[in-house]
Amino acid sequence: MSNSLKIIVSVFVTILTILFNIQKSFGQEFLKNLSVRKAFESKTPDDDKPATISFTGPTNKASSFLLNAGVGYKFTEKSIGKIKDKNKLTLNVFFVYNVNSLISIEQHNYKLEITAETRFGMNPQKLVFFGNHTMQYIRDYVDTNYSALLTTYWHILSKGKGPKKFGGYSNPDKSFSYFFQPKVGLEYQYLIDAKEKLVNAHGFDFRGFQSIGGNLLYRSGRNSSGQTDSRTKLLELIVSYDFRESLISNVNYNKENSYLFKAGINLYPTRDGNLSVGGCYNDGEDPVAGINKQEYWIVALQFKLN
């Protein structure tokens, strides 16, 4: 393990230890506002993924790591706008660390983030707008650069009676359910410093972001009393296509557009949904997550403890 990696892992463990001790001192109120997850830029159902940690250290080969994890704390939450209680603003602070040496071009970065979430509307039978806005400092070890990033992403939630379902599964009493997941956003990345790869080490890239995706779910089971509300996930298909277009830039990236295509399948073999087996095919790049252009598969067994 390289020294820098040791330092980062130590910092991460130290932060978790400090948070744990603060929680012991300040009680449950602190824990309520604490969250651990993979990413915080957006909170659509596809983004709401658990943190992942993996380490392999063979004796005669290089070690491999997979760590996509972040810890966040929610500072405040309040209603905004003229219509009290309908619109909401939440402010969070996060630290996220990503390292993945299992793919052909490594992912290795850490991010410090301040995130504000806004919501307009409160009736999912009509249309609810969710906005996630972040201000990030990114240290990327693969591209050896330091950058500041401002992002804003918007998605909708709608579960009306018609066929147009957006942002989340509906009809929990039915076997099949689906939803579409369109997202739009803007990203402003300012390169504070970069080495080697970029001719112009300082500058900015202002990008437009669009994403379209869809999820399909098959639910299983009824309980002994025949209640329809006891169905649980059995099989889930997820597809998404993210597209980024550089609108204004003075950095020599040699790339004006980028895309990321993802297609995944998840199987939930137990009734309680605590265990899942999943595979995801990825093709493209994600500059916000520090993933360079490549094509790879991820197969994972995930479980959670209630």
């Binding site: 109120e29 309520k32 506002n33 909170k43 659509t44 159902p45 709401d48 929610k74 939450e77 209680d85 309908k86 909401k88 939440t90 919501r119 409160m122 009736n123 999912p124 039978q125 609810v128 969710f130 939630l157 579960k159 009676k161 379902k165 942002g167 989340g168 599964y169 509906s170 009809n171 929990p172 009493d173 359910s177 779910l217 209640q227 329809t228 509300d229 006891s230 169905r231 649980t232 996930k233 309680d272 949904g273 209630n306």
Partner: protein, 140 residues
């Protein structure tokens, strides 16, 4: 002090009220919090229909957010899991908090529900208990 809920019939309640009234007369300085015992009793009591109404409205909110148009509130099991059975995610919990907050204010204007409290709800029954606890007076 943890809150406890139990049912009591009208005649028994009247007897308790009468006994407390006598106690107040003998000990005029006796207070529970800053209230006289009889006032405390009145503020703590909810009618059965009021409790049932709040629970039914809680379940209707959950059904609306889950996009379920066929199940009636009374048919929604207390043991139904919000995440695993109804597929609630962050967005749904955000709406749940706002709508519960609006609901409890209807019964008690000073009450509120935070996102931390709704995020701790695993089942429909947990939500019903949360709303019920918020519509009862606090004297801790």
């Amino acid at each position: 002090m943890a809150k406890q809920e139990f049912q009591i019939n009208a005649s028994a309640l009247k007897k308790i009220h009468g006994a407390l009234k006598k106690l107040e007369t003998k000990n005029p300085k006796m207070l529970i919090g800053k209230m006289k015992p009889t006032h405390f009793l009145s503020a703590s009591v909810k009618s059965l229909s009021e409790v049932q109404s709040a629970t039914s409205e809680t379940k209707q909110i959950i059904l609306n957010i889950s996009g379920d148009f066929s199940t009636k509130p009374d048919d929604l099991n207390d043991s139904t899991l919000l995440k695993d059975n109804l597929n609630f995610g962050d967005d749904e919990f955000s709406l749940l908090q706002t709508q519960f907050d609006t609901l409890v204010k209807k019964y008690k204007s000073s009450a509120s529900v935070t996102s931390g409290e709704t995020n701790k709800c695993n089942t429909v029954g947990d939500c019903a208990k949360l709303v019920s606890s918020k519509t009862t007076a606090d004297y801790e």
